[in-house]
């Protein structure tokens, strides 16, 4: 097999995101098995600290695209730079997160390099030289094993938290600068501003116990029950995306990759099915308890304890028990 494995790194506020280390762990394993190289690409402006963080993370090469034009994320500019790197280096495989960044980059990189794309992967194996991935369907109630017949590079995005992360050390990676040739006049988009979430009185990230409401609570009025349980336990309430989408709670209460990552000691998911975007943002909680009528709900795959039943029966009993 020719080519290398290329990991597209992600960073927020000057810190490399965990999904990058998860991808590097997977990439290192395949690179060793196949006897090929592992490269990681970092894009940004003044990336010295990011380069340092990646230099001993298992990669053989850290590719650095450092330019003022990459200071603020732009899907158009980043896709152009990454696609140039992929066309130049012709990796066998490009690994990225199934994240806002990875989703936006995958289609462009695969199309512009003539490769094949499979997104939202959880596991990877090989059939000869061809990748075989496992990915969810139908809200995660079903998994499919899919083999790629199409051409390389194989652009694969992985769900954050789905892959194990192993601390990789050893040799220091070679730093290679990659050219950034962006012609501003040709661009079809430009950033006006980056908007940070309003900081209100609510900060669910600080709560030690979170009682979280999902679509299964069925009605806005039933939030009272969720609040009563939170109060009885000395915790706070939060919610999944549908509850915020319906306007039952404001986005500051929302747990998910678009809103808040939380790691309370106890997370109680009430009527939450467990979409990957939600799970990725709460799976590191200490104790996870899920209450759901649907025994097949994916939330039961991440919870430590589950109650398959009607939350309107179970929660009042929990409130009574907590109040002693």
């Amino acid at each position: 097999m020719s080519g290398e494995i290329l990991v597209l790194s992600e960073h927020v506020a000057g810190v490399i995101d965990n999904v990058t280390y998860e991808l590097l762990t997977l990439g290192r394993q395949i690179a060793d098995e196949k006897g090929i190289g592992l490269a990681v690409l970092v894009l940004g402006n003044q990336t010295n600290a990011l380069q340092d963080a990646l230099s001993e993370s298992g990669a053989d090469v850290v590719l650095v695209a450092d330019d003022l034009s990459l200071e603020t994320y732009s899907a158009e500019v980043y896709a152009a730079v990454i696609s140039d790197v992929v066309r130049e280096r012709q990796p066998m495989m490009v690994l990225t997160g199934y994240t806002y960044f990875g989703i936006e980059m995958s289609a462009a990189v695969a199309t512009r390099s003539g490769g094949s794309i499979l997104s939202n992967c959880q596991d990877l194996n090989f059939n000869g030289d061809k990748p075989v991935v496992v990915r969810p369907m139908y809200g995660g109630t079903l998994l499919s094993r899919i083999g790629i017949n199409g051409p390389a590079p194989y652009v694969l995005s992985f769900e954050k938290g789905a892959l194990p992360r192993v601390e990789l050390s050893g040799k220091t990676a070679e730093l290679v600068s990659v050219p950034v040739a962006i012609e501003p006049a040709t661009l079809k988009s430009s950033t006006i501003e980056i908007i940070k979430a309003a900081v209100g009185e609510i900060d669910i990230k600080k709560a030690n116990i979170l009682v979280s409401a999902g679509r299964g609570i069925a009605d806005k009025e039933n939030l009272t029950l969720i609040s009563e349980l939170a109060e009885a336990l000395g915790g706070a309430i939060s919610c999944s995306r549908p509850v915020a989408d319906m306007g039952w709670l404001t986005p500051e209460y929302q747990v998910g990759i678009s809103a808040n990552y939380v790691t309370p000691s106890v997370y109680i998911a009430c009527g939450i099915s467990g979409a990957s975007q939600h799970v990725a943002a709460m799976r590191d909680s200490g104790l996870i308890i899920a209450i759901n009528k649907d025994a097949n709900a994916p939330i039961f795959r991440v919870a430590h304890y589950g109650i398959i039943g009607d939350l309107f029966d179970v929660i009042p009993a929990m409130i009574k028990e907590a109040q002693g």
Binding site: V12, Y73, A75, E76, Y98, T99, Y100, F101, I103, E104, A107, A110, I117, L118, N120, V132, R135, M137, Y138, G139, G140, T141, L142, L143, S144, R145, I146, G147, N149, G150, K188, S189, S190, T191, I192, I194, I195, K196, A197, N208, L233, R241, A244, S258, A259, N260, L287, I289, A290, P298, R301, H304, Y305, G306, I307, G309, A317, M318, E321, A322
Partner: protein, 257 residues
């Protein structure tokens, strides 16, 4: 003026007995009610709302079997002017996107809206692959679409993760993948659905379109198997009366804090 085309997908509310097709290129199943994919519904609402504000037309498009027609009729009942269906059901996102792009190219649209992710295939790529095929700029997880400061542009706000949003100016023609929750979705009364039933739906067979011939060459992906998630990853299920469950769970909570 905006001529918007909205990519919509008909998805089953639930499925039973899933199995791989003989050609290993698709999934077969018994389906419950067919509904419009959630984020596509929001994209449709955005398109109709933009038409009211800025004028122009709205066309709904779907790649799907005859059952997808219901979703297109929902689009027409909500205010779309035209409907297009490509008579094919594919699991492969690249092939689906290429067919949709071929059909979109034959319209005079200058804005393509799609949802962020389909409930069944969960790939989140079709809209973005259409953008690449057509050479349009793109924006994913869009939460707000406004007229731009310059002619021929839109001002778009999108999620970029961890509570951050990016507001950008994007030149038309463009592809925007709309996030859920952008605007309340409307209910379509039965009478309105009946009224649009006779509206024509332009229908393509895959071979009417350029990329249809590639599909005939064989699938680029092979579905080897479908299976339920591992039981070993399952939570320990607490059983008993409500009181017993409450007592056991509270004990676990006490131990954890």
């Amino acid at each position: 003026m905006l001529n918007t085309i909205v990519c919509t997908k008909a998805v089953p509310g639930f499925i039973t007995d899933p199995r791989v097709s003989d050609k290993k290129d698709n999934l077969e199943y018994e389906a419950g009610t067919i509904v419009i994919n959630e984020s596509d519904d929001y994209a449709l609402e955005e398109a109709v709302s933009l038409k009211k504000k800025l004028g122009g037309t709205v066309t709904v498009i779907s790649a799907g079997t005859l059952t997808a027609q219901k979703v297109l009729q929902t689009g027409l009942a909500k205010g779309a002017d035209n409907a297009i269906r490509i008579d094919v059901q594919l699991t492969n996102t690249t092939q689906t996107a290429n067919l949709l792009a071929d059909a979109i190219r034959q319209t005079d649209c200058n804005l393509v809206l799609a949802g962020v992710e389909s409930r069944d295939n969960m790939a989140a790529q079709v809209g973005l692959l259409i953008a690449e095929n057509l050479g349009f700029p793109f924006s994913y997880a869009v939460t707000k679409i406004q007229p731009g400061n310059e002619e021929g542009t839109l001002k778009v706000t999108k999620e970029i993760g961890a509570g951050l949003k990016q507001c950008e100016s994007i030149k038309l023609p463009a592809v925007l993948c709309v996030q859920t929750g952008t605007t309340p979705t409307s209910f379509v009364p039965f009478k309105k659905m009946m009224m649009v039933k006779k509206k024509p739906v332009r229908t393509y067979k895959p071979l009417d379109l350029e990329s249809g011939r590639e599909i005939a060459d064989g699938p680029a992906f092979k579905i080897e198997e479908v299976f339920p998630p591992s039981e070993s990853a399952m939570a320990e299920i607490i059983v008993g009366s409500n009181e017993e469950i409450a007592s056991k769970i509270l004990q676990k909570i006490k131990e954890a804090i």
